[in-house]
């Protein structure tokens, strides 16, 4: 995944990212908001030696205090202190639970004990800190060695805890930010993983990157129109799609300078990718150039050309192959005088045998002799072998790939199946490509809903570009 794919993945599933970020932030905020406030108060105790007559005694006392002060700090969280605190403050808890709320620390190289207490109320925290400090004082005095009934260690509460003004927890804003970040990150991960797992081909550029077979054309899909079926080149010559078919025809011309492509199979990986539509429109685009074209419907499984062109389909290719009629008898002229169509005829029980028969090869020879270009509409490559067999009989195959339905491995497998029989793949035609501004220049401008809304408000629309003379007329 490069930067482009990453951005595309995020753009495509931005709603997941946004939704999870919002959910995360709200959940964290709600959780923080619902939890009780917590206050922290601190009291400080100073431990010193009670008496010291000489300097030496003072030094010894100081060393003794420094050594023992850490143990005194530990006392603050022990039952000996906390039980008394619970009794004094009349708390409904145990010393073990209360110990969780108290921390007593002895800063390095000092004889000070800092007692931190956490409670759900401001005064509760300060009372707790002070009470622990008081009880610790008493306990230390009781525990420390004494002489003449006077404790050798003196403990003084040097700073009493004041009720804190603000609760330190919950920090709702921080919690919401953390929740937001967490949700956002999860969203990004989901978007990236889904993009990695999604093997569908989306754009013509992806097809281009996918294989080293050339991309010969890209037929745009129009917004709000599920499918541009049938002979769009004839019905609407200025349509974006019509222009795309003309470009495909031009690219085919330049494909091979040494030997011109005179017969080709239009096929695809799976069904419903737009083979028949492409072959009809390509035939029309070539016929526009004044070349004689024969379009043969060689799809003996699901013939569509007769239906799309509104031609009589009872007799056709199969009728010729079984020798009932001659080729010229069943060819129909359609639209342009240069365009002849051979429909499929009756659906045979043995399509593969018919297609592989010497009669089929002879028929194609005959057709090539009579026409400048012969185009065969064939079944898809992955389900049946007809397309691959036909490709060997012609100059090559044109593979149509529908950008809305096809997956990357399918395109590759289809091309492999052609290579497996040593058939030539002329190139790929990307169908149903998302329309962009680049393709509306000579067609009807396609606008996003936002642009349409803006245009409706401003009322400053360009006149629709229609009524240009048809190319070649």
């Amino acid at each position: 995944m490069d930067l482009r794919d990453y951005v595309a993945a995020l753009r495509k599933r931005w709603y997941i990212v946004a939704a999870l970020a919002i959910i995360g932030a709200s959940a964290a905020f709600a959780q923080a908001h619902a939890s009780p406030p917590q206050y922290r108060a601190q009291s400080t105790v100073f431990v010193s030696i009670a008496r010291g007559a000489t300097t030496q005694e003072l030094v010894q006392g100081s060393t003794f205090t420094q050594e023992i002060v850490q143990s005194y700090a530990k006392l603050a969280t022990m039952p000996v202190v906390l039980d008394q605190v619970i009794y004094d403050l009349d708390l409904d808890t145990t010393s073990k639970e209360l110990a969780e709320e108290i921390t007593a620390e002895n800063p390095l190289d000092t004889v000070i004990i800092e007692i931190d207490a956490v409670a759900t109320t401001s005064t509760g925290a300060s009372d707790l800190a002070n009470s622990v400090a008081d009880e610790l004082t008493t306990t230390i005095t009781n525990l420390s060695p004494s002489s003449n009934k006077k404790s050798a260690v003196e403990v003084t509460v040097v700073a009493r805890a004041d009720p804190p003004e603000e609760a330190f927890a919950p920090r709702t804003r921080l919690a919401a930010l953390v929740g937001f970040t967490g949700g956002f990150g999860l969203g990004v991960v989901i978007a990236v993983v889904r993009a990695l797992l999604d093997t569908r081909v989306r754009t013509a550029a992806e097809i281009e990157q996918l294989t080293d077979v050339g991309l010969l054309g890209a037929i745009p899909r129009r917004r709000g129109q599920r499918r541009a079926r049938g002979a769009i080149t004839a019905i609407d010559p200025h349509n974006v799609a019509s222009e795309a078919y003309r470009r495909l025809q031009t690219n085919l011309q330049f494909l091979d300078a040494s030997s011109r492509v005179r017969s080709m199979v239009v096929t695809s990986s799976i069904g419903g990718e737009g083979k028949s539509t492409t072959s009809i429109n390509l035939a029309l685009a070539i016929a526009e150039q004044g070349q004689r074209v024969l379009l043969i419907d060689a799809d003996m499984r699901r013939p569509a050309v007769a239906d799309y062109c509104g031609l009589e389909g009872a007799a056709g290719l199969t009728t010729v192959l079984i020798g009932k009629v001659e080729l010229d008898d069943v060819i129909q002229v359609w639209g342009d005088a240069n365009l002849h169509v051979l429909t499929m005829g009756e659906i045979p029980p043995n399509p593969a045998q018919l297609i592989g028969s010497p009669r089929m090869a002879a028929l194609l020879e005959e057709a090539r002799a009579g026409y400048d270009v012969v185009i065969l509409d064939s079944p898809p490559l992955l389900p049946v072998a007809d397309g691959a067999i036909l490709s060997r009989l012609t100059d090559g195959a044109l593979v149509v790939a529908n950008c809305r339905t096809i997956h990357r491995p399918q395109v590759l497998e289809a091309i492999d199946s052609l290579e497996a029989v040593d058939a030539r793949c002329l190139g790929i035609v990307a169908n149903q490509v998302r329309d962009t501004a680049a393709h509306t220049y000579y067609g009807q401008p396609e606008q996003s809903w936002f642009a349409r809304l803006l245009a409706a408000v401003v009322r400053h629309r360009e006149p629709r570009q229609q009524g240009y003379p048809a190319a070649g007329s």
């Binding site: 190289d109 990004v188 996918l210 050339g214 745009p220 091979d256 962009t436 680049a438």
Partner: protein, 456 residues
């Protein structure tokens, strides 16, 4: 997305160029920002750094690039094993050594951040160039140089020395076209840096700089009939040089050539343990003692028990160091266990997997040094960072070693596989349609179908 409109190969060059530049500029900006932020090492929360966060956000982009580096996948697997081991150990020991939640994060997140930075740097140096990435990283580390707690004590030694070294030597990397000029620039820079560093009394840093200069000169020795020497011989040379320099610097410090403070420190360290290294790093004693005490390591966020502390203190006092002080209680065992060496810390936090990881790091550092000297391919900064990594593995605390480690791994130590696996550019000329596919193409396709890289 613009749709290609003609046969692919003659696609209009201008459109192609314009289209690519936009993304390239964005990628370069992102790569630059990632390198800069990785350099800042600015902590967000519990050891998670801004650079690490940005690296994580860019992970989908750099992961494929990183996998093209020899050993990077192994490093990733080792790191993952370390995390699993750390959590497993912490759970296993929870009865006797209760881990703290904050401690677990504090030990895992800095390492995760560093790993993310390494990935981002690997990608960034391909998008930009190693020199630019190092300079941006150095500028980033200048930003947070003043945040060191001991910065006020000696601004050069505890603040600016590393960023300056990285920036100046990184700038030298950019004169790649003219090797002689580059060598000259690197030697002059190293000389200047050594001067300033020695005056500030930073002994180990001066040693690395001098060693780098010597190795650099050795690398450019006059060519004999045999152009490359053996890797082993090169490593022996590095070892001998290190030892000699150690003795020389110890002497220089004791004589007072590196300033009074260095002289006093050296005297004290030699006095306490009889040797400069053991006196300066008494934590080694604790590490060895703890390793013998708990050979499997401790786990993430684990606190030392009084028994562990006792064992560590005994190990330290065996070196002649008096461990009964606040440093040992508070800094080494106060909030977590820190024994001030990458190997020790990795072993304590991640168990045996951590030991393997540090072994891998040592292998990379020695590999780089051996390769550079044998094949004359090393750069000044690469050699410097490899030497420093070798030192830090034994004597450098993990947290402060991580930034330099990330830069070393991200730019120098890992070697890119420059083989046939190189992705074919998307604007290649297609072979004649219908021609049989080359074996590489077929392999790429098979790999693709098996879920491999998309543009392969």
């Amino acid at each position: 997305m613009a749709v290609a409109t003609a046969v692919r190969s003659p696609r209009t060059q201008r459109t192609q160029h314009a289209e690519r530049t936009g993304w390239e500029v964005l990628a370069a900006l992102l790569a630059g920002a990632a390198a800069f932020l990785a350099g800042t090492d600015y902590g967000l929360v519990r050891g998670l750094t801004v650079g690490g966060l940005v690296g994580a956000a860019l992970a989908p982009i750099w992961i494929r690039e990183a996998s093209r580096y020899r050993g990077a996948v192994l490093g990733g697997v080792l790191l993952l094993a370390c995390f699993i081991s750390a959590l497993a150990l912490a759970t296993w020991r929870s009865a006797t050594h209760p881990p703290t939640e904050a401690g677990v994060l504090f030990e895992l997140l800095p390492v995760v951040s560093a790993a993310m930075c390494v990935g981002a740097l690997l990608w960034a140096q391909r998008v930009l160039s190693p020199g630019v990435v190092v300079c941006l990283y150095a500028v980033g580390s200048f930003m947070t140089a003043t945040m060191n707690s001991r910065f006020a004590e000696d601004p050069w030694r505890f603040g600016f020395s590393m960023p300056s070294t990285m920036l100046l030597l990184g700038a030298c990397l950019m004169i790649k076209q003219r090797p002689r000029k580059q060598l000259l620039a690197e030697l002059v820079t190293l000389g200047a840096l050594t001067g300033v560093t020695a005056l500030s009394g930073a002994r180990s840093m001066s040693a690395f700089l001098i060693m780098t200069a010597v190795l650099l000169v050795w690398q450019h020795r006059p060519a004999t009939a045999k152009k490359s020497t053996s890797v082993l011989l090169s490593l022996v040379l590095v070892g001998a040089l290190g030892l000699g320099l150690y003795r020389a610097l110890e002497g220089a410090a004791l004589e007072g050539y590196l300033g009074q403070s260095a002289q006093e420190r050296t005297e004290l360290q030699v006095q306490t343990a009889g040797s400069l290294i053991l006196g300066g790093r008494p934590e080694i004693g604790a590490t060895v003692a703890l390793m013998l005490h708990e050979p499997l390591g401790y786990g993430a966020g684990v606190m030392a028990t009084p028994t562990d502390m006792q064992a560590a203190k005994q190990g330290m006092s065996a070196l002649g160091y008096d461990p009964d002080n606040g440093y040992v209680e508070h800094y080494m065992f106060g909030t977590r266990i820190e024994v001030h060496s990458l190997i020790g810390d990795l072993w304590i936090w991640f168990g045996l997997a951590g030991l393997v990881l540090s072994g891998w790091l040592l292998w990379l550092a020695t590999g780089y040094l051996g390769r550079s000297l044998a094949h004359r391919t090393g750069t000044a900064l690469g050699i410097f960072l490899a030497l420093q990594l070798g030192w830090n593995l034994f004597f450098g605390p993990i947290i402060s070693s991580l930034p330099a480690l990330a830069l070393a791994l991200g730019v120098f130590l890992l070697q890119r596989k420059e083989t046939a696996a190189e992705p074919t550019p998307s604007v290649q000329m297609s072979p004649a349609p219908g021609a049989r596919r080359s074996s590489r193409g077929r392999r790429a396709r098979r790999r693709y179908l098996a879920g491999g890289p998309r543009h392969a």
